[in-house]
């Protein structure tokens, strides 16, 4: 397939003796929205974190636009600039204002002039409804606002893929919607997205494809309609019967 942006081949990851990923293989197309679901401890997060090399795969290959990113001499920082990541615990930088959080990497690593970086950051803040918070420090933001900030911080690098690692799991219920709204808009804009989530209704609504990961392997994958209405794998059936 020509518009394939990420290809994962036989991905394995062990922490000491514990093998968390036992050989995952899949491919993600440009502009595709892929949800990763499955029980806790099944390897979903590890799978996602391998995609931007926050975890070094123990075995297997990952190709980004045909380039093997698991090879030793790869410039990892350069690669990560193309892959945005949003964490469950926000991880906004507390010692910087909202605006500085966003412009830090573009100014430092992409050498974008400060004025231009600021302008772009303000436009992004406008998109997520945080324009009036630009000069605040993160401690004054709610959880939902922090998560929207962290999304915008990742977007400021103009990534080609966005990874979301349970972006709403640490939020109060009333803030889940605003964050999912931003992710939904992003999906509509054509961004390639891989999202690990427990929000099944949301996954079903926005995904082009759903991966079910359990016990370190991709047990089943398919379109959301098929996955949520007639899953085949026994472990998928069991999992979905418990969460739906």
């Amino acid at each position: 397939m020509t518009n394939e942006i990420l290809r994962v081949e036989n991905l394995k990851k062990s922490f000491g003796k514990l093998e968390v990923l036992k050989g995952a293989t899949t491919a993600i197309r440009q502009g595709e929205v892929v949800s990763v679901i499955g029980p806790s401890g099944g390897g979903k997060s590890t799978f996602l974190r391998c995609l931007n090399l926050l975890e070094q795969p123990t075995e297997g290959r990952i190709y980004f636009k045909g380039q093997d990113i698991t090879q030793k001499n790869l410039d990892i920082c350069q690669y990560r600039r193309k892959i945005g990541m949003v964490f469950q615990s926000f991880n906004v930088f507390p010692h910087m204002s909202v605006l500085e959080n966003i412009t830090l990497a573009p100014i430092l690593e992409k050498k974008i002039p400060k004025a231009q970086a600021t302008e772009e950051a303000m436009a992004l803040l406008g998109r997520v409804g945080l324009t009036d918070k630009a000069d605040e420090y993160p401690r004054k933001l709610s959880g939902g606002q922090k998560q929207r900030l962290s999304i915008v911080r990742a977007l400021a690098m103009r990534p080609e893929v966005m990874l979301f690692d349970e972006p709403t799991s640490a939020l109060d219920p009333e803030m889940v919607k605003e964050v999912l709204g931003v992710i939904g808009d992003l999906a509509k804009s054509g961004m390639t997205i891989v999202i690990v989530t427990h929000e099944m209704a949301f996954a079903r609504k926005i995904s082009d494809r759903v991966l079910f990961i359990s016990d370190g392997v991709i047990k089943e994958e398919g379109s959301p309609d098929v996955m949520f209405t007639c899953p085949r794998d026994p472990s998928t059936i069991r999992f979905l019967s418990m969460v739906l």
């Binding site: 990560r80 945005g84 990497a105």
Partner: protein, 219 residues
């Protein structure tokens, strides 16, 4: 009280020159000790296993032996291994710097480790280089953990310089010894020296508090 006033009137120059000695020895020790401490902390936290072990041993030995023993060790040993003349003062300052660096490195390491792991990951995920991850994201946050402990270390360094009096290096405690042996007014001279030490450290701790408060602006 009367005697203290008279003693001060007569020997203030001696005490003040002692204070001068304490000040410069402290300043050099704090400055060089901190720089060396940073280096040791980097070695301790870096990826090179040999340097990890080496710095570990360095820290453990310096923290596990009395500072007075270390002063003697350098005072006797250092002139024997360097090819040039070395004054007693220089030997003592080197020993103080090295001793202080061990404590400072542990303070820095603890401060850096206390920064949330998520901050490292977020900084890496937006593509910051390793240097920028450290200088722009981790260290500015670590400083807030480090500074209070480092302040305590500075104060104990200032007090630690009094041990140099054992070797009659010109500092405040040495000036007590001189005045005491000239006048036999031990308690009175001790009181004067004690008040000077106290004022010095009181000022230092107030300054550090001020600095801390300025750094806390974002929390």
């Amino acid at each position: 009280m009367d005697k203290i006033v008279k003693l001060w009137a007569k020997y203030s120059a001696v005490f003040l020159s002692g204070l001068g000695g304490t000040l410069w020895i402290s300043a050099v020790t704090v400055l060089c000790g901190t720089l060396l401490g940073m280096l040791v902390a980097l070695m301790r936290m870096g990826r090179c296993k040999a340097l990890n072990t080496l710095s570990d041993i360095y820290i453990e030995v310096l923290r596990g032996t009395p500072i007075l023993l270390q002063l003697y060790f350098f005072w006797i040993g250092l002139p024997k291994i360097v090819p040039f003349e070395l004054s007693d003062t220089a030997c003592i300052v080197v020993a103080l710097v090295i001793n202080s660096s061990a404590y400072v490195s542990e303070i820095i390491r603890a401060g850096i480790n206390a920064v949330d792991k998520g901050q490292w990951e977020a900084a890496k995920s937006i593509g910051l280089s390793n240097t920028h991850v450290m200088t722009r994201v981790i260290l500015p946050q670590a400083v807030k953990n480090i500074l209070p402990a480092l302040g305590n270390e500075f104060i104990s360094t200032v007090k630690g310089t009094s041990l140099a009096s054992v070797f009659f290096v010109g500092e405040l405690m040495t000036s007590y010894k001189s005045v005491q042996s000239a006048t036999f007014l031990a308690l009175q001279s001790l009181t004067i020296v004690g008040v000077i030490y106290f004022m010095l450290n009181f000022l230092l701790s107030k300054l550090l508090k001020l600095l801390e408060r300025r750094l806390m602006v974002s929390d």
